[in-house]
């Protein structure tokens, strides 16, 4: 079956509002609730980490204890009790897996249900997957094919042991431990995530993908992703995520660091579909994520594309630091909020090098009683000669109980740099709606169609494997928002 049809079928299977709301019963290995030095030592020992890694974590914990949870974002949520969270939870018997056959069949079934077949024969052609279940990576597909090209794609817990020199050099190099409250927390307790290294001159032969699943109750997920693209290399990376439908809020505090050297390019795409909470605002994931890329080399490029439909609260600003001359940063975002969801998301483009260029296209859609904020920063430092930025931020409101907000910070310290920022807020026009209805579409179908059109500039940036699913997801996310 062609990939596209297969994906459509998977999506069609889902008729319920949040089709990933089921949970999997597995025997798990869990650390006690709460956070102290001992828990960090336990996580580190569970992962058989070297001493230096543990020290790095403990230092992060020290930093975190002195920090305060940020309050500047336009989001309201009940205070998180950091001592009431499990920081480590792993399905039993996942260690020392040699092949897929050894993976717990329950787990495989879970991923099948999520539309992510891990069996390489059944897998989406051309996509290698690292599957992270709660605190551990359960399996990474197509590793052999990738190794032949010299591409390293493995759980970060493994890379710490097998490629310590790369980890030591790059971890925390883009997002230091003290960067913010959640990056400090993540640095102390991260349990797994993906590690990617693309060697010089290699164009990664397939899309790399990590699929995150939070399953256990009261468990926080703290994954850490590190992607390094060496000179003249290219990789496209996809990230997906889901969680069971639960009444209580769960915390997801990830850190993603990207590094590109001379002439290298990383394309990072996310379809974020964590459980958003129910129609009454109960439950849902707190998604507090720090993502940042550093274009270290000249002519390098980092492109972020995100489709944010899930989570009760989102706090996320995938950013680019444009060090290298002629380097390029891009941010394409669709953020949809419905019911009681709150999203405060955007990007930072920090221009340091000459002739650096950045583009920001953000589409925010608010429905129900949700609040949707774009928060962005464009900074031209004195060295950013002839740098360019273009920003387009559009918001769409559906219904009169929601809010749409735009908060851009724009600074230039170089006269030859050029910044252009545009923002609009509007609603779906009655004319558009009527036109669609007169052609026989239901109101929900019409809204889905119009919103997809509104997001087109962003959706076309998604890899093909993702775009069909993302389009459907937009419709599903807005269910119940009209009429």
């Amino acid at each position: 079956m062609p990939i596209q049809e297969e994906t459509i079928e998977q999506v069609n299977l889902a008729t319920s509002k949040y089709k990933y709301g089921f949970s999997t019963d597995l025997e798990v290995d869990k650390a006690p609730k709460g956070l102290d030095e001992n828990i960090i030592k336990l996580i580190s020992s569970k992962k058989n980490e070297p001493e230096w890694m543990l020290d790095w974590r403990l230092k992060a914990f020290e930093i975190w204890k002195k920090m305060k949870e940020p309050e500047w974002a336009k989001v309201n949520y009940s205070k998180i009790d950091y001592q009431d969270i499990y920081y480590y939870s792993a399905p039993k018997n996942t260690e020392k897996l040699k092949s897929l056959d050894e993976v717990d069949p329950e787990l495989l079934k879970t991923y099948e249900k999520l539309g992510i077949p891990l069996n390489e024969q059944k897998a989406l052609a051309g996509v290698a997957v690292d599957a992270v279940f709660d605190s551990v990576s359960v399996v990474t597909t197509f590793r052999k094919q990738l190794e032949e090209k010299g591409v390293i794609f493995c759980p970060i817990s493994e890379a710490i042991k097998t490629h310590p020199e790369l980890i030591k050099k790059y971890i925390g190099s883009v997002i230091p431990r003290h960067d913010n409250y959640f990056s400090a927390l993540n640095s102390a307790v991260f349990t797994d995530g993906s590690f990617v290294y693309i060697p010089k001159g290699v164009k990664c032969p397939m899309e790399l993908s990590t699929y995150f699943r939070i399953n256990e109750k009261n468990t926080g997920q703290f994954e850490r992703t590190l992607i390094i693209a060496d000179d003249d290399s290219y990789v496209s990376y996809l990230e997906g995520c889901t969680a069971p439908q639960r009444d209580e809020n769960q915390l997801h505090a990830a850190v993603v660091e990207l590094i590109t050297h001379d002439n290298a390019e990383i394309k990072y795409s996310t379809v974020q579909n964590w459980f958003p909470g129910d129609e009454n605002g109960k439950g849902g994931i707190f998604n507090f994520v720090t993502k940042r890329g550093s274009c270290l080399g000249k002519n390098s490029k980092i492109s972020w594309t995100q489709v944010e439909t899930g989570s009760a609260v989102t706090w996320k600003y995938p950013s680019c630091i444009l060090h290298g001359d002629n380097s390029v940063g891009e941010f394409y975002s669709v953020a949809i909020t419905n019911n009681f969801q709150q999203a405060d998301t955007g990007t930072k483009m920090i221009h340091l090098g000459k002739n650096t260029k950045s583009t920001i296209i953000s589409k925010g859609i608010s429905a129900g009683k949700s609040q949707n904020t774009y928060r962005g920063k464009v900074l031209m430092q004195p060295g950013a000669k002839n740098a360019r930025n273009f920003t387009q931020c559009d918001s769409l409101l559906i219904g009169d109980k929601c809010g749409a907000h735009t908060i851009p910070y724009i600074t230039s310290k170089n006269p030859s740099a050029n910044i252009e920022h545009e923002a609009t807020t509007s609603k779906i026009s009655e004319d558009q709606l009527f036109y669609c209805l007169s052609r026989g579409l239901s109101e929900e179908e019409a809204v889905s169609l119009i919103v997809n059109g509104f997001c087109k500039e962003v959706m076309k940036e998604l890899p093909m494997e993702f775009s069909v699913e993302a389009q459907k997801l937009i419709g599903i996310s807005l269910e119940g928002s009209v009429g």
Binding site: G399, Y409, P415, H421, T425, K427
Partner: protein, 385 residues
């Protein structure tokens, strides 16, 4: 004639609360979001050595307009904006002049109430000015503050525009001495608009080492409209800050804020512009356009054009650009034989002229045009030197 209206006991009583608060908290610090880009402590170092005095001069025989502050009108100071703003406590605990401009119903739209204030060296002028425009009148008010070295000017202005009225209000900050030494201007302005009323505001910030105008406009009733034309000029180490918030609180209200900045030498420009649309303010039309022109490698521009929208049937937009003179335009002029310096001058003038065109009130547009010419003449002298 001179306006000399020391605050009455009632006014002083009212200000007691702010005095207390000033003792506790002092000047606003740069940890506060709206003060992050304008670090006051860098500019205002020792305000306690300054003498308190506010002198205002009124052109021609308009003294019938000026009254002592009516205690009933002190309620304007109870607004959320004045109560919450950190500068209120600074201004209201130091006022030396408090007066009202009561526009009579019979005002002719041709006349302009022209008020000038010179702040001499060693003086801190802190005053409370209430402007009340009754229903169905058209009037023009121009306020000009001229600062000497080592002076401080902190006016607090409350404007109320009655139903069906149009007010054109000009505020300009200039420097009376050539040098721009330790002269600081920090103002707070709140405007309340009733049904079918219009407020056109022309803000020109040219003088003073530090100038900041913090403007809060409430479009309280249907079909009220606010237009702001704000122009700031920066040279040497000047810091120019325009901070605004327009609150759309009723249906069919509109606002348009146009900001132009020009920054030379190591000057810094700040524009923090807000448009807030309340849930019931359907059919709002809110626009902002801010542009900054950097003429030097050391100049810096900061913008934060914010939208906060809680109503769905609205049309809001903002745009912001920062950059240097357009290269294509420059080349076009050169190719017609215009010299580099003249092309620069012509393009700078054009960039500023565009907003002059948008001003409805001739008196205010002439005033701005003069300010532009003055700045350009200084700029040319620098180029020659």
């Amino acid at each position: 004639m001179e306006i000399n209206s020391p605050p009455s006991n009632e006014v002083l009583d009212f200000c007691n609360f702010f005095k207390q608060s000033f003792k506790e908290h002092g000047w606003p610090n740069s940890k506060i979001e709206t003060w992050k880009m304008t670090p006051l402590q860098k500019f205002i170092k020792d305000s306690s050595s300054l003498k308190h005095n506010s002198k205002y001069l009124l052109s021609n025989n308009k003294n019938k307009f000026i009254k002592n502050v009516d205690i009933n009108n002190l309620e304007f100071l109870n607004s959320k904006y004045f109560q919450k703003n950190e500068m209120s406590r600074v201004i209201l605990s130091h006022i030396s002049n408090a007066f009202e401009i009561l526009v009579p119903k019979s005002t002719s739209k041709k006349e302009t109430i022209d008020i000038k204030s010179s702040i001499d060296a060693g003086i801190w002028s802190s005053s409370l000015i209430i402007i009340k425009v009754p229903e169905n009148v058209e009037c023009n008010i121009a306020l000009e503050f001229s600062l000497s070295s080592n002076s401080l000017c902190t006016p607090l202005i409350a404007i109320d525009v009655g139903k069906g009225s149009n007010l054109s209000f000009g505020l300009s900050v200039i420097n009376s001495s050539k040098s721009l030494n330790a002269s600081n201007f920090v103002s707070l302005i709140e405007g309340d608009l009733s049904e079918n009323s219009n407020l056109e505001m022309v803000l020109t910030q040219q003088g003073a080492t530090l100038s900041r105008s913090d403007i809060n406009i409430n479009l309280n009733q249907n079909y009220s409209n606010y237009d702001l034309i704000g122009v700031y000029f920066g040279r040497e180490k000047q810091h120019q800050d325009i901070t605004t918030c327009v609150n759309h609180l009723a249906e069919n209200t509109s606002s348009n804020q146009v900001i132009r900045g020009i920054l030379d030498d190591s000057s810094v420009g700040v524009y923090q512009g807000g448009v807030k649309v309340a849930p019931n303010a359907q059919k709002t039309d809110g626009r902002q356009m801010s542009r900054a022109l950097l003429l030097s490698n050391l100049a810096e521009s900061n913008s934060k054009p914010e939208l906060e929208i809680f109503a769905d049937d609205v049309s809001c937009a903002h745009g912001a650009t920062i950059g240097e003179l357009d290269k294509d335009q420059f080349f076009y002029l050169l190719s017609r034989g215009v010299s580099h310096s003249m092309a620069r001058e012509l393009l700078i003038k054009a960039y500023l002229n565009e907003v002059v065109e948008e001003i409805q009130n001739d008196y205010l547009s002439d005033k701005l045009e003069k300010a532009i010419d003055f700045w350009l003449s200084e700029f040319k002298m620098k180029e020659v030197a």
